[in-house]
Subunit: 223 residues, 4 copies
Amino acid sequence: MSYGRVFPLMRAAAGQYWPAYVDHDFVRGLKDGSLPKGAFLHYLVQDYLFLIHFSRAWALAVTKADTVAEMRQCAATVHALIDEELKLHISICAEAGISEAALFAAEERTENLAYTRYVLDAGHSGDFLDLLVALAPCVLGYGEIGARLRAETPDATYADWINTYGGDEYQAVCRDVGTLLDDAMARRLGDDPEASPRWAQLCARFKVATRLEVGFWDMGLRP
Amino acid sequence: MSYGRVFPLMRAAAGQYWPAYVDHDFVRGLKDGSLPKGAFLHYLVQDYLFLIHFSRAWALAVTKADTVAEMRQCAATVHALIDEELKLHISICAEAGISEAALFAAEERTENLAYTRYVLDAGHSGDFLDLLVALAPCVLGYGEIGARLRAETPDATYADWINTYGGDEYQAVCRDVGTLLDDAMARRLGDDPEASPRWAQLCARFKVATRLEVGFWDMGLRP
Amino acid sequence: MSYGRVFPLMRAAAGQYWPAYVDHDFVRGLKDGSLPKGAFLHYLVQDYLFLIHFSRAWALAVTKADTVAEMRQCAATVHALIDEELKLHISICAEAGISEAALFAAEERTENLAYTRYVLDAGHSGDFLDLLVALAPCVLGYGEIGARLRAETPDATYADWINTYGGDEYQAVCRDVGTLLDDAMARRLGDDPEASPRWAQLCARFKVATRLEVGFWDMGLRP
Amino acid sequence: MSYGRVFPLMRAAAGQYWPAYVDHDFVRGLKDGSLPKGAFLHYLVQDYLFLIHFSRAWALAVTKADTVAEMRQCAATVHALIDEELKLHISICAEAGISEAALFAAEERTENLAYTRYVLDAGHSGDFLDLLVALAPCVLGYGEIGARLRAETPDATYADWINTYGGDEYQAVCRDVGTLLDDAMARRLGDDPEASPRWAQLCARFKVATRLEVGFWDMGLRP
C-alpha cells in the first residue's frame, strides 16, 4: 500500500521499526487466529482508550489547520473515530461482558499513555505537519496490515478486525489521509519536502510514533 | 428562552451587556429590514471568518472534554458549524458575487480577532468550563435573538437569517448546548455552581464574551 | 535599527502598517511631551495587562522550542517581562495612585484583547516560528521607537519611557531577539527563508501583529 | 515531609504507588551506594530529557495561571530547572564523557515519554490545578526522598544527588510548591477542596503521575 507519495518515504526512514510494527507477533496471531482471546480483549480495552485520545489529537488538528478543506477532513476523522470506530470496540467488548463504563474506567497502560500523549504533544509543540506525521503511522499502518491480512487468506477467528481495517471503507480513509499528508507537506514545505530542513525532524517524529506502535503490540501480548 | 438552568444565571450576571447584545441596532435592522444590504454582507463575510475560528474553539473543546458524551456533542457542533452553517454564508455571499476564496482571504476586523481569539484562549488557559462559558453567549444569544425575531412578525428582507436561528433545528442545538453547560457545571462544580469560588470568574468570562458580541454588531454597522 | 537579517525583510513586507506603528501620533506625543498624562496612564494600565499576556506568550514559546538554547532565551524573556518590565508599570502607576490590584482588575480594551490573544493563538495554531513572528513587532518595534526617540533630543516629560526602550539593556534584548528570529528561521526554513512556501504566511502574521500595534496606540489616545 | 496541607492528602490517596515510588530499589541503591554506576548514568541521561519536558510543563503553567504571583512562581521554577538543575546533569555526565549534545540526542525511553507527555497533556486538557497535581509528585517526592536519605547516613557514592535534593535550597522549593498547591486549590475549589467534585479526579491525576515515577525508576534499573 502506498497511500500517496510522502508516506512511503517516511515509512522507509523509520527503518527497522516499520516491519517490527506491521509484522509483529500480535499481527501474526490475528492472521492465523493463534492470538489468545484474552490478549485480544485486553488489546481492545486499551485501544478503546487509545481511540479516545487519538480522537482528541485529530480534533487538535482541526484547531491547527490552515485551510477549510484541512479542517473538514480532520473533523470528519474525529467523527469517524468517536461515532464509528469506537462503537466497534464497544460492541465486541459488550459481547465479552465488558461494559462501556468498564472500558472508560480501565487503567491506561504506560505504552498507551506514551503513544497517545506523544501524539498530542507533537501537535501542541509543533504545527499541523508535526501532528500529522505523528498520527500517520497508526492510521496508515493499520490500513497496510488490514489490506495484507485480508489478502492472505486469514483464519476466521479475527475476521471482524481484519475486515474492518482491510475493508473498502477504511482503505478509502487511508488514501484520503495519504493525500492530506502529501498536500499538507506541499503547502508548507514545497514540492520537494525532502529538501526541507524540517524533513529529518518530521521523519524522526514518524519513527517515534512507529516505535510506540511496536510497544503497543508488545503490551497487547501482556494482558 | 432559558436553555437550561445555568444560562439564565450567567445572562443576568452579564448585566447591561446582554440587552446591549440581543437588542442591538443591528438586530433591530435585521428585524424591520432597515439594515443596509452592504452592512449585512460585510457582517456575513466577517461571520464566515468568525465561524472558522469558532469551529476551531469547539474542536478544542473535544480535546478538553472529560467524558465521551461531552466529546461527541462538541464534535457534532464542529460538524454542524463547518459542514452546515458555513455553507449558508457561502451561498448567500455567492449570490452577492463573493466567492468562498474571497471570504477566506478577507481581512479580519479587530473586533473579530478579539472575540474569536479570546474564546480560544479561554480554552487554552482554563478547562472545559472556561471554554464553554466563552462559547455560550454566541450560540445561545443567537438562539434567543432568532426565536424572538421569528415571533415578532419581522420584515421579510432578512427572513433567511431569522429562520435559520429561530428555526426548530437551531433551537434544538441551543437546548442541547444549555444542557451540556448545566451537566458540565454539575460534574465539575457540584449541584450548586453559584457557591463555587470559580463562579464569579466563569461569569466574568461569559460577560467578556457578551461584550465582544456587542462589539461584533458595532463592527457590522461599519462596513 | 536592523536587529538581524529577517526582521528588516518582514518589516518591509508589513507595508504601510510599519510606519503607521512606529511613527504614530502617540509616539510623537511621547517624543515632544504633548501626549496628555491621562492618555499615558491609560496606556500604561492597558500595557500592564498586555505584558501579562505577552509573558504568557513567551512562556508558550518555551513549550514550543526545538533546542535548549531557544528554551533558555524564551524563559529569560518571560523573566525580564514579569520580573522587570512589569515593575516599571507598577511603579509609575503607583506614583499616580493606581495600585497593582487596580491594574490587574482593569477592563481589557478590545484592541488589547485582539492583540494579545492573536499572538497566543499564533502559537497554539502554528509552530515556534508562527509565534515568534507574532511576538517580534512589539519587541523590535519598541526598540526601534526607543532608539530613535532617544537620539532625537526628546522633551523630558516621558524620559523614563524613552530611556527604558532606547537604553542599552533593552537594545541588547532586541539584538538577541533578532538573532533568535534569524536562527529559528534558518533552522526550520533553511538559508533562504524567503524561498519557503511559509514565508508569505509568516509575513502575513507579522503584518497582522503590526496592524494590532497601530490599533493599540489608537486605543491609547482614547482613555 | 508535609510540604503543606493538600500534598499529604493526595499522597495518601495515591495508595500503594507512593511507597513504591519513594522506597523503590533505585532509591535504596542511591542510599547504600549499591546502585551500579551505569544505571545511574543511564538514569541521568533520561532525567536530562525528562527535565527539558518538565520545564516545558512548568512554562505551560505560566500560560495557565490566574494571578501574577502564580505566574512568577512558575516562571521561577522554569528558570531553576533549565538554568540550574539541568547544569547538574550536564556536569556529572560530562565527567563521565557524555557531552550535552549526546544527552540531547539520546533516545527517550517509553517510560520517559509516558510521564512527561502525560504531565503536559494534563495541562492542555485541564486547568492550572490539573497541571499542578501532575507536576507535584516529581517535585515533592524527590524532596521527600532527598530529605530522608540525607538524614539516614547514606553511603557517600551518590552524595551529590542526595545533597542536591535533600539540601536546604531544594527543600525550600518544595515548601514553596506545597504552598502554591494549597493556595491554588483554595482559590479554585474553596476552603474544603476534598468536598469538591473535582477532588477525586485530581487525586487520580496525582496517582497516575506517581505510578509513572515508579515506572521511571524501573526504567532506571534497565540501562
